[in-house]
């Protein structure tokens, strides 16, 4: 009888040990899966942010509110009209919530003029309250100013910076 009891106890300990190892393995698998998912999620977020930054930059570069035009002809590539640019911000701010937020979302778009003198034009700025970072994209542009030149338009030089908040 005593022998049978001891055999039963041994069997029970063995089962508990197997179950313990089983649960430890399950726990390891869960931790591994959780870490993997965390990294994959971060990578996906970075990828999405980069894609969003590229989309917003493209949109900013081809905005009719800023582009240089030549009547009915094709718009001038990589050129912003300073006479429009100086006033575009007023419109962007006025219609930010009901229109331009749908275009640029949480972002900051500015134009830095480098030549002939340094000057910054902030066109759009909507900060994300819980932003954890930002993806910046730069693009060189020509800035055409028709009221500054001597009879001919004056061409300035600068870059556009699109900062998309994460």
């Amino acid at each position: 009888m005593a022998y049978l009891n001891r055999k039963g106890q041994l069997h029970m300990t063995e089962t508990i040990a197997v179950m313990f190892i089983f649960f430890v393995l399950i726990m390891f698998a869960m931790i591994f899966y959780y870490k993997y998912q965390q990294i994959a999620f971060k990578e996906k977020q970075d990828e999405l942010l980069a894609a969003r930054a590229m989309d917003k930059t493209l949109k900013a570069l081809f905005l009719p509110e800023l582009l240089c035009t030549k009547g009915d002809a094709e718009a001038e590539d990589n050129c912003f009209d300073l006479m429009k640019l100086r006033h575009a911000n007023e419109t962007f701010v006025k219609y930010l919530t009901n229109y331009y937020f749908n275009v640029f979302s949480y972002a900051r778009i500015s134009v830095e003029q480098l030549y002939p003198e340094k000057k910054e034009f902030v066109l759009y700025d909507k900060l994300k309250p819980d932003a954890t970072g930002a993806e910046k994209t730069y693009f060189v542009v020509i800035l055409k100013d028709e009221v500054r030149g001597e009879g001919l338009p004056q061409y300035n030089f600068g870059y556009v910076m699109v900062e998309v908040y994460q």
Binding site: D55, K59, D72, E74, R86, E90, T91, V103, V147
Partner: protein, 375 residues
């Protein structure tokens, strides 16, 4: 004897235990598979939307370039496009993923299913560039063109190269063969073949009603939409749809009508363009231009000519066209902005935009000689 019974109970218990545990484990894995299937379908639809968003942004800025996108991996799915209350929607039918777009006018059939998506854009000008119109179609959507105007027919066949377009003549109307196409759109320039309650071509009668449609351009830049209903054509719009454009080749508003599913979608997308025009007018003419207070780019032009008084002698047409002549930029911009506001409130008044845009274009061209132009 007692030990034998005990053994029997233990054996049965073990088997039951194995069965229950096995079932639980099996159910666990079946559950995982089902959840993963649903999750991957959801992920696929979201990925498709994200890729489509990027494609549309790229296509929107690469004006006049056609983009042919392979979507053979999505051949079992149907893409849908819709626009109501100034907001466009698109996505994969049967999934919860839906992309909203209140900015870009996207002219497309209601549904697309096939192996190749065709995306193309044209700038919409009224008179300056307002926005890019995006035209979405597929290689298995056939467009049959009937036209009494060879200029339009030539322009249409030239600009739609790559699309499945067939230019045909009236006697061959009943020979239209859809083949294995997903849907058929008849483009009737001049109202030659499609009439309300008229007969649908014989070989199209067997197709689903929503897969056969027609767009008919009538005189004075108007358009009507038709849908197959049994063997007959049914007109969709009550009032003719006015095309708001300055005409010419590659008329974005006209091509928008060709690629739009129906009059409701067309109006909805045009409304997006008119809203953008209102904001652009403020950049050009200032935020109080509708009250006659000039600002924006036009304000800078006025200030420039006020400062450079000497130009009144050497180039009198400059200041004249900007603010002194009867037809000047300041008053024309004010009219244009007032008309945009009226158009946004009442669709029927949008046609007035054509004349104000044409007047602005005329004055801007006059300035183009040796003055600063508005656009």
């Amino acid at each position: 004897m007692t030990e034998g019974k005990k053994g029997q109970i233990e054996l049965t218990f073990n088997w039951m235990y194995v069965l229950i545990a096995g079932t639980v484990i099996l159910l666990f894995f079946v559950g995982i598979v089902v959840k993963q299937k649903a999750a991957s379908e959801e992920r696929l639809s979201l990925d498709v939307l994200r890729v489509m968003d990027s494609i549309f942004v790229g296509a929107g800025v690469s004006e006049k370039t056609k983009n042919f996108i392979d979507m053979s991996g999505l051949v079992d799915y149907t893409l849908y496009f819709d626009c109501s209350d100034g907001v466009g929607h698109y996505g994969l039918k049967g999934t919860s993923a839906d992309s909203e777009n209140a900015i870009d006018p996207i002219f497309a059939p209601a549904e697309i299913q096939g192996t190749q998506l065709i995306v193309w854009s044209l700038p919409y000008k009224l008179p300056f560039k307002v926005i890019d119109f995006l035209f979405v179609s597929s290689s298995n959507t056939i467009y049959y063109l009937f036209s009494d105007d060879t200029d339009f027919a030539n322009d249409f066949t030239n600009v739609t190269q790559g699309y499945n377009v067939k230019y045909t003549i009236t006697p061959k109307y009943n020979e239209i063969d859809p083949g294995k196409s997903f849907q058929v759109r008849i483009v009737d320039n001049g109202g030659i073949v499609v009439k309300n309650k008229g007969q649908v071509p014989t070989k199209l009668k067997g197709m689903d009603d929503d897969k056969v449609s027609a767009v008919v351009f009538t005189g004075s830049n108007q358009v009507d939409y038709y849908q197959k209903e049994g063997a007959l054509w049914k007109k969709l719009n009550f009032n003719p749809v006015q095309i708001i454009s300055l005409g010419g080749e590659r008329d974005a508003a006209k091509y928008g009508a060709v690629f739009s599913a129906n009059d409701k979608d067309y109006h909805c997308n045009m409304k997006k363009a008119f809203l953008r025009l209102k904001y652009l007018n403020e950049v050009y003419g200032g935020k109080e231009i509708s009250l006659g207070n000039v600002g924006g780019k036009l304000g800078e032009m006025v200030d420039y000519y006020d400062v450079h008084k000497e130009l009144e002698l050497t180039r009198p047409d400059c200041i004249g066209n900007v603010k002194k002549y009867d037809s000047n930029l300041v008053s024309l911009m004010q009219t244009h902005q007032l008309r945009v506001s009226a158009c946004l409130l009442q669709q029927s008044s949008c046609a007035d935009l054509i004349s104000s845009a044409a007047d602005l274009k005329k004055v801007n061209m006059a300035l183009g000689v040796d003055c600063i132009t508005l656009y």
